[in-house]
């Protein structure tokens, strides 16, 4: 069963609460990844020195301006307030039973605020919520804290887990490291309803990060469309292309059950046979012609080719490291096993 919690919704005061920092952290302390520290004194000092608001007679830190929010975040976090990092190590010492707070000794008087960052970026301080150590200009490498200070990993045995004994992993044969073949295209059902019309190849469709955009941002701006081909082309192998009578910069139609993409081909020997690459992400705002195969509706982007499948054993819960945490655990939206058909575009219609 899930756990059930009852909370109060005070809908007419949502705005007041949005712009004021509530008192629960002052009462309960802060922490993350299993750490904990008290903020009462620092909080109260901030209330005196920073903008604040009164609600029902109580003083609250103001969150009205983004800059105020930034200062509350910075002054109450361990990576930017060395005293709080020291406190958090002290708390961890009790759990672990070993000395740790010396890791923050040199940082106790370091406190960073927004204006400091505007003057120059600042290095993050050692904190028990992260596993790397950065004293004296040391480069951050993960798990040096665990290895050097004998602090357990947050797992079942506290050690690094080579063996995964959750009953679901046993059921799926993934309790031991193993090799599983990728999902077979026929059963993966990307091509169950699609038809080959004219000379067509089936390829594995990969959508890596590109050169002329970050995801789709920048891709459509003047400089980037000039530097790239003005669209997100489909990179394919020269022999594969030749078999479809495609030469570089020809238009191609890429389709499967999930949707359709129409773009130009980049024919290159650097791509092996059997796979194709469309760097992500196209935008529907530029360079997307219509698709003859789908009733001359406008074609789509790289996610027109994808459909979500979840890997079931990644749903395991309530068991050591197999316990849910937002963005931390659970099945993922994988997309690399996608298969498509590609053909030369018979006519270009905008």
């Amino acid at each position: 069963m899930p756990k059930f919690a009852v909370v109060e919704r005070d809908y007419k005061n949502v705005y007041e609460k949005y712009i004021s920092y509530g008192h629960l952290p002052r009462k309960n302390g802060l922490g993350a990844h299993g750490t904990h520290y008290d903020i009462t004194d620092v909080h109260d000092e901030l209330v005196r020195t920073n903008p604040s608001r009164t609600i029902d007679g109580a003083e609250h830190l103001s969150l009205e301006r983004a800059r105020d929010v930034a200062n509350v975040i910075l002054v109450l976090a361990t990576v930017t307030n060395g005293e709080l990092a020291w406190r958090s190590y002290k708390d961890m010492e009790e759990k672990v039973g070993l000395p740790l707070a010396d890791l923050a000794d040199g940082n106790r008087n370091v406190r960073v605020q927004f204006a400091d960052l505007q003057a120059q970026p600042r290095r993050l301080l050692n904190s028990p919520m992260w596993s790397g150590l950065t004293n004296s200009g040391r480069a951050y490498a993960p798990f040096t804290y665990n290895r050097e200070r004998m602090v357990p990993w947050r797992t079942l045995t506290g050690r690094q887990h080579l063996y995964l004994d959750h009953p679901l992993y046993l059921e799926f044969g993934e309790h031991v490291p193993t090799y599983k073949p990728g999902p077979p295209p026929a059963e993966f059902a990307d091509l169950r309803f699609s038809e080959k019309v004219g000379p067509t190849l089936e390829l594995n469709y990969l959508t890596p990060h590109g050169k002329w955009h970050i995801h789709s941002t920048y891709g459509e701006n003047e400089r980037m469309t000039t530097l790239g081909r003005g669209c997100d082309p489909l990179w394919m192998n020269e022999t594969d292309a030749e078999s479809l009578d495609i030469v570089d910069n020809d238009w191609v139609e890429v389709h499967n059950d999930n949707g359709v993409v129409v773009t130009r081909a980049v024919v290159s020997a650097r791509i092996p046979r059997g796979i194709c690459i469309q760097y992500h992400s196209p935008e529907r705002t530029y360079s997307i012609p219509k698709s003859p195969l789908r009733g001359h509706k406008r074609a789509g982007g790289h996610n027109s080719m994808t459909r979500t499948r979840l890997k079931v054993n990644l749903m395991a819960g309530g068991y050591g490291q197999f316990t849910f945490h937002f963005n931390y655990w659970g099945p993922t939206g994988c997309n690399r096993d996608t298969q498509i058909y590609v053909r030369k575009l018979p006519e270009l219609v905008w």
Binding site: F4, R9, V69, T157, G158, E171, H209, E283
Partner: protein
């Protein structure tokens, strides 16, 4: 005059060079302000934004990161060809300058407002009329956005939220915004608003498939990686699925500098990718076969460096820092043994009364062969007795030293023949494993082996005295995971693999573990990525590379590292006011709500599982059924949570006599057990269960981030689509109510905050003009480096745009005003939340 003469003339008479003034003017500025790009590039580079007459004219790399240790080259210069083009956006034709609303909706809204004084009643009149609702839904993505004033937008959004809360429940209001680290205050705006009203925040890192599941599997850690400067400390870099100069542009120089410093670099990539130019060796593995490669590398490492050479540093590391010595219970089944769960300390007489004995585990001591219970396990973490959660090799009971046995090979000579899966060939193999028998508190005996010995069998390392399906030698391709076996999958010659494995392990041996795998989306986005990553990580645990500078698994995909997490999350999730939150794993949410689950059958059709799995069990069902069970077991969240409005559920509980939270919880559990109350996930296509309002900010939820985009258009948006799939799942699903016709257009309203008119904006009902990264104050951190820096308002937000923080502030204000009439008093809401990591719920369920 010849052209040469003219040049000389210009030089001696500068007055004629007035044309140069154009360039001087272009690069003049009145002020310089520091900012960066909040774009999930993971780069996080500090930029100086130059402003002239209130206009951003250009940006330049700030070049002032503090230096690290003197032995490491500086971070500078950071930046990329994309980032330096950002200022173009502020004044570009793509900029969203004003609020926009879909014309079809605006006309209906104005009419409804004329008929209804109360905006909530006006909104209700529209969404309860399928014909009207369909009008603006079908118009999505077909143009027709009209410029409108802020107040109209704010009122409509607020009315839709209040109506949804009243009629359906607050968890039908969902929000998507990715990667807080890239502009954490902007992320916090919408999620703070959502959590204050009881809405659903959607995850991103797992949805993007950037979460490497092997990291939580092995380390209990989302992702924690080397900053890029630490590549310089590595002596061997293996780069796979990561195209450094293309996508890690500001950091790539560390790889080049490491090479100048003598580091070897091998690139694995099926295509001749850009980063290959830095490599000493390019190994063009077949696409998606990285797992096969590392499995065979591990075979070689274990055989030569562990078994034959007994490399002390490697064995000691595994003994202390991995679960290698822990005891696994073997059970007899069909004439062979199966490896099962770890043996629990509480089952032994000596530890029977131990606190959390089911969550403490055992090793055998090398000196006397007796089982002992090391400190530092999850049972110690969540016990009342503090101070024993550490890795010192001591018994948690009596404090005695432990010298844990890695292997039982050769001590008493007992072996058990263990069945293992060979998924590539679709068969079982049987291999001998050294075992011992241990007496339990009830007098019975169990057969146990160490994790290490089971891995030796799984990696098919032949050892004297062990019979069964072990390979004869490296050239035996009949058994996984020999170098000859790997050839079939990777396409790479066995000699290359052997050379790599030996160099990898001997580099680690001679440098104290300075081998790093730089890895990314190219590997992580496969269905079985967890297995590929896990195999690569094993190579580094076997060689003691994890937890040292210059060593370990350096996974870079999303800008997931939000450094000041503690205080930020108290604001972003409104935990300063509300102690419980609705956080949804997005892969499940979209798989189910956008009906992508309907287009496949039993997951076993494509996921290879062992023969003889429980029929109808997790490994033999439709994925949606597994997800329903996972929600019922408290493994995963799912919102909307009930078919009924969660506010009504509390009211009913209170009417039935519940006076406190415990009473309400009991009522809810009773109703669920009696099947009078249903989870929404049990009938996600019923109208009552649909998500209704979708708020999108800082992201491109309907294109770049929309896996199954065409299904979104169909089932969420109710507009034109290019998918041609037909529902296939009818016969396979057992746990959910099946509807022959899939719903189209589940969403009443889609709101997008954006500074670009991108695909998500084109398909939304309301587009609100957001400030760019040069027009707002914010914070930014990354895992590529260890600095935190700001985004700052170099100029105020242009046209009618506002920062995300100010937009949600305005929405909150308008919402509160409208809500005052409908909710003059506070009401109670019940939140169903899954069992959570880093809480005592980690020891909630020892079995299924």
């Amino acid at each position: 005059m010849t052209s040469t003469n003219r040049w000389i003339h210009d030089a001696v008479d500068p007055k004629t060079r007035t044309w140069e003034e154009f360039y001087r003017n272009r690069w003049q500025f009145d002020r310089v302000v520091r900012s960066t790009h909040g774009v999930n590039c993971t780069g996080s580079c500090s930029w100086n934004i130059h402003v002239k007459d209130g206009i951003v004219t250009w940006e330049m790399q700030a070049l002032d990161y503090p230096t690290l240790d003197a032995d490491i080259p500086p971070y500078e210069p950071r930046g990329c060809q994309r980032g330096i083009s950002f200022s173009w956006y502020l004044y570009s034709p793509l900029r969203v300058k004003y609020p926009y609303m879909r014309g079809a909706l605006l006309d209906l809204w104005r009419k409804a407002r004329a008929e209804h004084d109360d905006p909530v009643a006006a909104w209700r009149s529209l969404v309860s009329d399928p014909e009207k609702r369909g009008r603006w839904q079908r118009a999505r993505g077909k143009g027709g956005l009209r410029r409108v004033d802020w107040d109209t937008c704010l009122e409509l959004i607020s009315a839709s939220c209040v109506q949804t809360i009243q009629d359906r429940g607050p968890d039908r209001i969902a929000g998507f915004s990715p990667i807080p680290a890239m502009s954490m205050i902007s992320y916090a705006s919408g999620s703070r608003f959502l959590q204050l009203i009881g809405g659903t925040s959607l995850s991103f890192y797992d949805w993007y498939c950037d979460l490497p599941n092997a990291s939580p599997e092995i380390w209990g850690e989302q992702t924690d990686v080397n900053e890029s400067a630490d590549w310089f400390n590595a002596k061997f870099l293996a780069v796979m699925g990561s195209n450094l100069n293309m996508t890690r542009t500001p950091d790539c120089h560390f790889a080049a500098e490491a090479r100048h410093n003598g580091t070897k670099m091998v690139v694995f990539s099926p295509d001749f990718s850009q980063v290959v130019k830095y490599a000493d060796e390019w190994i063009p593995l077949n696409a998606g076969q990285d797992g096969a490669w590392w499995m065979a590398v591990n075979h070689v490492i274990l055989k030569e460096f562990h078994h034959e050479q007994q490399t002390a540093a490697f064995l000691d590391y595994c003994r202390v820092y991995s679960d290698s010595p822990f005891l696994v219970e073997l059970t007899a089944k069909d004439g062979a043994f199966e490896a099962g769960q770890l043996l629990r300390a509480g089952r032994l007489a000596g530890y029977a009364d131990e606190e959390n004995g089911e969550w403490k585990f055992l090793v055998c001591d090398e000196n006397d062969g007796r089982p002992k219970m090391p400190m530092g396990t999850v049972g110690h973490r969540w016990g009342d007795a503090k101070g024993k959660w550490n890795l010192l090799p001591r018994d948690g009971r009596d404090g005695s030293d432990i010298d844990a046995s890695l292997t039982f090979l050769g001590d008493v000579g007992a072996t058990a023949r263990v069945r293992l899966d060979d998924f590539a060939e679709g068969r079982s193999v049987h291999r001998d494993v050294p075992v011992r028998e241990i007496e339990l508190a009830d007098g019975s005996k169990v057969t146990v082996a160490t994790v290490y010995d089971i891995l030796m069998a799984q990696y098919a390392v032949p050892r004297d005295g062990l019979g069964g399906d072990y390979p004869a030698d490296y050239d035996d391709a009949s058994q996984s995971y020999t170098p000859a076996w790997a050839e079939r999958y990777t396409g790479i010659d066995r000699k290359t693999l052997l050379r790599f494995a030996r160099q990898w392990a001997s580099t680690a041996e001679h440098t104290g573990g300075k081998c790093t795998v730089i890895i990314g989306a190219g590997v992580n986005h496969w269905y079985h990525a967890n297995l590929m990553y896990r195999a690569a990580i094993h190579s580094m645990i076997f060689c003691g590379c994890v937890g040292t500078n210059g060593g370990g698994m350096a996974h870079y995909v999303g800008q997931e590292k939000l450094a000041p997490m503690e205080s930020w999350s108290s604001i972003a999730l409104a935990k300063d006011w509300v102690p419980a939150v609705r956080l949804q794993n997005t892969p499940s949410w979209h798989y189910i709500n956008s009906d992508q689950s309907r287009y496949e059958k039993n997951a076993r059709d494509y996921h290879t599982v062992p023969d003889g799995v429980t029929p109808g069990g997790y490994a033999d069902c439709h994925t949606i059924d597994a997800n329903v069970r996972a929600v019922r077991q408290g493994w995963l969240p799912f919102y909307p949570q009930f078919q009924k409005n969660s506010l009504d559920v509390v009211a009913e509980a209170e009417a039935a006599g519940a006076t406190d939270a415990a009473g309400v919880s009991k009522h809810v559990v009773d109703e669920l057990v009696a099947r009078k109350l249903k989870f929404a996930i049990e009938d996600p296509d019923a109208e009552e269960a649909w998500p209704r309002v979708w708020l999108i900010w800082r992201g491109n939820a309907i294109m770049s981030s929309a896996k199954g985009h065409e299904y979104f258009l169909d089932h969420y948006l109710g507009t034109h689509t290019n998918h041609i799939s037909e529902s296939l799942a009818g016969e396979a699903v057992k746990e959910v109510t099946w509807h022959e016709m899939a719903p189209q257009g589940k969403l009443d309203l889609i709101v997008d905050l954006n500074f670009r008119m991108d695909t998500s904006a084109l398909y939304s009902d309301i587009v609100l003009p957001a400030a760019t990264w040069y027009e707002k104050d914010d914070l930014n951190s990354t895992d590529m480096h260890s600095f935190i820096h700001p985004l700052s308002a170099a100029v105020p937000p242009c046209w009618e745009s506002k920062s995300d923080w100010d937009i949600f502030k305005a929405i909150a204000k308008s919402f509160s005003k409208i809500a005052a009439k409908h909710y003059p008093q506070p009401v109670n809401d019940v939140i169903a939340a899954p069992l959570l990591h880093d809480t005592p719920a980690e020891i909630a369920q020892a079995g299924l």
